[in-house]
């Protein structure tokens, strides 16, 4: 069907694969900084404090396939059960972020991950230990060994492993 000149349809002109990624974790762990490293935000961060979420978009290339990541940066909460379910539902992938320099952000990590797994069964979760730059390698190793989980370390400050984390999650979502 021929579309009228004044109307534009994004769907018709560019069919693409969209995936919803949610970033969750305690307040101040660096979720927004991680997104800022990865995308150039269009919406103001004020949305995080008003409605509790800010959405960004980034196109990534996974094995030649273009995928649009819709990144929902959800305002930090000490417990995931406090986050509105509607923000989390329908997510295709989860980035759970904690702050290596603040034990309170990872003390209840297993409990929080169990909650997310129950809410989003089968959805890949990438756990990121952020603010790596604030600790020595020895301290980081000690913390991670205590958590006995597959965890990647990142630094939103230096950008270390930020892009890789999103790409790894995208690949897991596509698998």
């Amino acid at each position: 069907m021929k579309l009228p000149k004044v109307w534009q349809s994004t769907s018709k002109t560019s069919i693409r694969m969209n995936k919803k990624v949610i970033l969750v974790g305690h307040f101040g762990v660096g979720k927004t900084s991680l997104v800022q490293q990865f995308v150039h935000s269009k919406f103001s961060e004020a949305y995080l404090t008003t409605i509790g979420v800010k959405i960004d978009k980034k196109e990534v290339d996974v094995d030649g396939l273009k995928v649009n990541l819709l990144i929902w940066d959800i305002a930090g909460e000490t417990a995931q059960s406090k986050v509105p379910k509607s923000y989390q539902l329908g997510a295709h992938g989860v980035l759970y972020v904690f702050d290596l320099s603040r034990p309170s952000t990872y003390n209840n990590l297993h409990e929080q991950l169990d909650y997310i797994k129950e809410l989003l069964p089968g959805v890949p979760i990438e756990v990121l230990a952020n603010k790596k730059d604030l600790l020595t390698e020895e301290e980081t190793k000690q913390i991670l060994s205590g958590l006995s989980l597959e965890i990647r370390t990142t630094s939103a400050k230096t950008g270390e492993y930020v892009e890789e984390a999103f790409l790894r999650l995208t690949k897991a979502m596509m698998a």
Binding site: M1, L3, P4, V6, W7, Q8, S9, T10, S11, K12, I15, M17, N18, K20, K42, F43, Y47, I51, G52, V53, I55, D56, K57, N68, L70, W72, P84, S86, Y87, L89, G90, A91, H92
Partner: protein, 278 residues
């Protein structure tokens, strides 16, 4: 005589130092007097101190006087509202006048456009409609000027907030992100202010209105401009229901790309001529 000379000599010896000091003191006083009474010289001395003080005051002004000034202005406004209105009236009045003039110009342009259409087929249609319905022709022209129009349509997956398809007259913001934010706002309002079974169905802003139609697994957000009326709303409701039943139900079962295609075509089919008269 000799005795007198000796006394003078003695006095000279004893007081010589005092006299020197007195002379120096007198000189200093004279200088000081000159400095104080000579404007130029006084300025020269005081100017740097005043300059420093000015900078200091400028930096600390909000901290030093802010609360008092705020309190004083608040008090003044409370106590003399009439005077405040009198002061502000010319400024606000000018702004309102400018706005009204601007809007009148726009209205005038639109009326001119309608008048140009008066002898066209469109004009005759209005005349016939006015004659059949018994509505004055001018009322019909004015209602046509503010008639509602669809600006954008978003078909959004309910849980994820993912955009399934959209139609828009402009290409301003990224529609995927807008769809996500609309979902978040909707969810926020529903969580914060309404019960589980109640859903957000309208958002009004300036001359625009977002009408949200909720279905089981998706919702449709229609952005309209102009004055919404019952006739338009009914027509929109019917078209959306028809679109949902025939297009979305079918699209739901296909692959993601097929669904997007089907929705895009459906939107074009159902809404391409929506604003035009039947």
């Amino acid at each position: 005589m000799n005795k007198g000379l000796g006394f003078d000599k003695l006095r000279e010896i004893l007081l010589e130092k005092d006299w020197e000091e007195r002379d120096q003191l007198a000189q200093k006083l004279e200088d000081l007097d000159d400095q104080i009474n000579s404007r130029n010289r006084l300025e020269e001395k005081i100017q740097p101190i005043l300059a420093d003080e000015r900078v200091n005051l400028k930096n600390k002004f909000p901290e030093l006087f802010g609360p008092q000034i705020t309190e004083s202005i608040s008090k003044q406004i409370r106590e003399s509202q009439d005077e405040v209105v009198e002061v502000l009236y010319p400024i606000i009045g000018r702004m309102i006048k400018k706005y009204i003039t601007n809007e009148m110009e726009k209205l005038s342009e639109r009326i001119d456009h309608q008048m140009e259409l008066a002898f066209s087929w469109e004009g005759w249609k209005i005349r016939i409609k006015a004659w059949i319905s018994g509505t004055p022709q001018k009322d019909m022209i004015i209602s046509k000027l503010i008639e509602p129009k669809i600006e954008e349509i978003y078909v959004i997956e309910r849980n994820s907030g993912m955009l399934l398809g959209s139609f828009s007259k402009s290409a301003a913001l990224d529609r995927d992100m807008v769809a996500g934010m609309l979902t978040a706002i909707k969810a926020f309002v529903e969580d914060a202010f309404t019960g589980e079974t109640q859903e957000l169905s309208n958002i009004d802003y300036d001359n625009f209105k977002i009408t949200i139609k909720n279905f089981k697994s998706f919702f449709v957000a229609v952005v309209t401009s102009g004055g919404m009326n019952a006739q338009f709303r009914d027509k929109l409701d019917d078209t959306l229901l028809d679109f949902a039943q025939k297009v979305l139900k079918r699209a739901k079962h296909g692959a993601e790309s097929d669904a997007q295609n089907e929705i895009a075509e459906g939107l074009a089919k159902y809404f391409e001529n929506f604003d035009k008269d039947e």
